[in-house]
């Protein structure tokens, strides 16, 4: 077990370093654009050169990368090109918004997927199963930003039930916070449920056709107990694995939804970084999202190793 965790951690560290360098290169592929964007198109060559020297942008990319990585590791994300504000504290302020959104959306996705997937499996090949499978295919094709727009149209403009966007911290006004979060979370969660319904259905069908379920039924166990105690529990291993990866995916796709609902999270910070070509902001926010996704994947790897004893022996 310890060997598995150590090897996973080593792979994680390697991934993080390579991922950070990919991000760094991706952002810096076009040289000189940061200064031009910060100073505007009328900036003189002298002003541009001064800006680049001031922010160390005139040095070789490798040197810039090494410095950025070193500082980032000590928690120093640099200062915004645009307004000189420290990026690190701003990230910490924004992280809870995005986490709340992702967790809320994830809960919604599971609340839809678990019962529907399990029910479809119990009615395998019958009308309910076909209906639920069709629903999953339809949901899987809905762009989340379209769903978000339709929700605003119906719930805000037509029924005037929810505010169109904005953010109030939970600690300030919990009711307002939930009212503002429900549509963004639904937009992400409903679309995510499509994949999870399919996974739950497949996992349950597999379990329900296994020998121990047949044995349990043969012993005269009630169908409810068979499903609840034996089937769902065993279907959870593959489900949890996919669901956790899906959580990472959710976390990675918050950018558009945060933009639509004016949520001041990490995702909208990425956009701020792009629109202003504010590289420290863009790098720090993109790296934070990547880091969270990688940590989730790491946890999945280790926990699934625990759940499934065969995997552990293979790694030792």
């Amino acid at each position: 077990m310890r060997g598995l965790i150590l090897s996973r951690l080593a792979a994680f560290a390697l991934t993080l370093i390579v991922a950070s360098s990919i991000l760094f290169v991706a952002v810096n592929v076009v040289p000189g654009s940061a200064a031009r964007s910060a100073l505007g198109i009328d900036a003189t060559p002298q002003a541009l050169a001064r800006f680049e020297a001031q922010h160390g942008l005139d040095r070789p990319l490798v040197v810039q990368y090494a410095e950025w990585l070193g500082k980032t590791f000590t928690g120093d994300f640099g200062k915004s090109f645009q307004n000189g504000v420290d990026v690190g504290p701003e990230l910490l302020r924004r992280l809870p918004v995005t986490l709340e959104l992702a967790i809320f959306a994830f809960i919604i996705a599971n609340l839809i997927a678990l019962p529907l997937g399990a029910f479809a499996a119990m009615r395998h090949q019958r009308a309910a199963d076909k209906g639920i499978s069709l629903l999953a295919s339809l949901l899987g094709a809905v762009p989340n930003f379209w769903l978000a727009t339709l929700l605003v149209m119906v719930l805000t403009l037509h029924f005037r039930l929810l505010p169109p966007g904005g953010y109030t911290p939970f600690t300030v006004n919990p009711v307002m916070n939930l009212k503002q979060m429900i549509m963004p979370a639904l937009s992400l969660g409903i679309v995510s449920s499509a994949l999870l319904i399919r996974i739950m259905r497949t996992a349950m069908i597999e379990v329900l056709s296994s020998d121990y379920i047949r044995t349990a039924r043969a012993k005269g166990a009630k169908e409810g107990i068979v499903v609840m105690r034996h089937a769902i529990r065993n279907a959870m291993t593959p489900y949890v694995n996919v669901a956790a990866v899906e959580f990472g995916f959710l976390f990675g796709s918050v950018v558009v939804i945060e933009d639509i609902f004016l949520l001041p999270g990490i995702g909208s910070f990425v956009l701020v970084g792009i629109i202003n070509r504010d590289y420290p902001v863009l790098l720090a926010s993109a790296l934070t999202i990547t880091l969270v996704v990688l940590i989730i994947n790491l946890i999945v790897d280790i926990v699934v190793g625990r759940l499934d004893p065969r995997r552990v022996t293979r790694h030792q």
């Binding site: 991706a26 990675g252 956009l271 792009i274």
Partner: protein, 280 residues
């Protein structure tokens, strides 16, 4: 093969492929024929006809500049299909190359290439696309490249797995034994035998490309106005949600239908060619 040919057409097996194929085919056809089938030019302004609801003259209404929404949606299909095809092609070509080389040479080449692919795969796709767009600059060509790069690891994984099973076949052994060059073996023996599953994967990549392109254009990072794209139409339409809901509904529905069509086609092809499901 001969017994399969004699069986009557199995509608159940091909139903997804036929339905998905019909949707995709129609959209492709509209995209190709856009200048001839669209009732109006997608750029013609007509201030007198601003924000008019669906009518006989404008089946899907007009937008905030009086342009015909139906014509713009049809022309946007062009752009979407072009991005989907080219981005998938970028992913297919480079992914196949990397995956096949990794499988063929094995050892350290395999390790380094596939580890790199794993890392690229662990990035949230839309985030990677957004960051790439930031540095490449916002244009539809760059959106295509960014989306293509995202597809590379998926194709590489699949190509490697398929190539490995092909490499174990006798004819590859024989090709090696008679001293065929690496390039010749890769191109003549391996490539043709791994192409089918990769092309099925391309159908799935298509649908994802349509989604990603529209998301990028929605954020203002893809197609630039006045060029119509489903993403930027939807984004502009949101500003007129209360007075002209069709501006938000129509482009979103177009994305939805296209993605659904490609998903059905991809799933259907995968099932139809899956030997385990073949005789079900």
């Amino acid at each position: 093969m001969t017994t399969a040919a004699r069986k009557p057409f199995n509608w159940r097996r091909w139903r997804l492929v036929v339905t998905g194929g019909t949707i995709v085919g129609t959209i492709m056809l509209l995209a190709i024929l856009a200048p001839w089938v669209a009732p109006y030019s997608p750029f013609d302004l007509n201030v007198a006809q601003m924000l008019k609801g669906p009518s006989a003259a404008h089946l899907l209404g007009t937008d905030e500049l009086g342009r015909d929404v139906l014509s713009r949606v049809i022309h946007a299909a062009r752009l979407s299909m072009m991005v989907a095809v080219l981005a998938s092609l970028v992913g297919l070509v480079f992914g196949t190359l990397i995956g096949t080389l990794a499988a063929y040479f094995g050892g350290i080449v395999d390790l380094v290439l596939m580890r790199l692919m794993e890392i690229l795969f662990s990035f949230p796709a839309i985030l990677l696309a957004i960051v790439l767009m930031a540095s490449l600059g916002t244009s539809i060509f760059n959106a295509m490249i960014a989306i293509g790069i995202i597809f590379i690891p998926g194709f590489a994984r699949l190509a490697r797995a398929t190539a490995e099973s092909v490499l174990r076949q006798q004819y590859v052994e024989q090709a090696r034994a008679i001293g065929m060059s690496h390039t010749r073996i890769l191109v003549r023996e391996i490539l043709p035998n791994i192409l089918a599953p990769l092309l099925v994967e391309a159908a799935v990549a298509f649908s994802y490309a349509v989604l990603l392109e529209s998301a990028l254009s929605f954020l203002g990072l893809g197609a630039q106005p006045p060029d119509p794209s489903w993403g930027n139409m939807l984004n502009t339409g949101r500003g007129f949600m209360g007075v002209a809901p069709w501006l938000s509904i129509v482009p979103g529905a177009a994305i939805f239908l296209t993605v659904l069509g490609f998903n059905m086609l991809g799933d259907g092809l995968r099932d139809a060619f899956d030997p385990q499901l073949r005789d079900e």
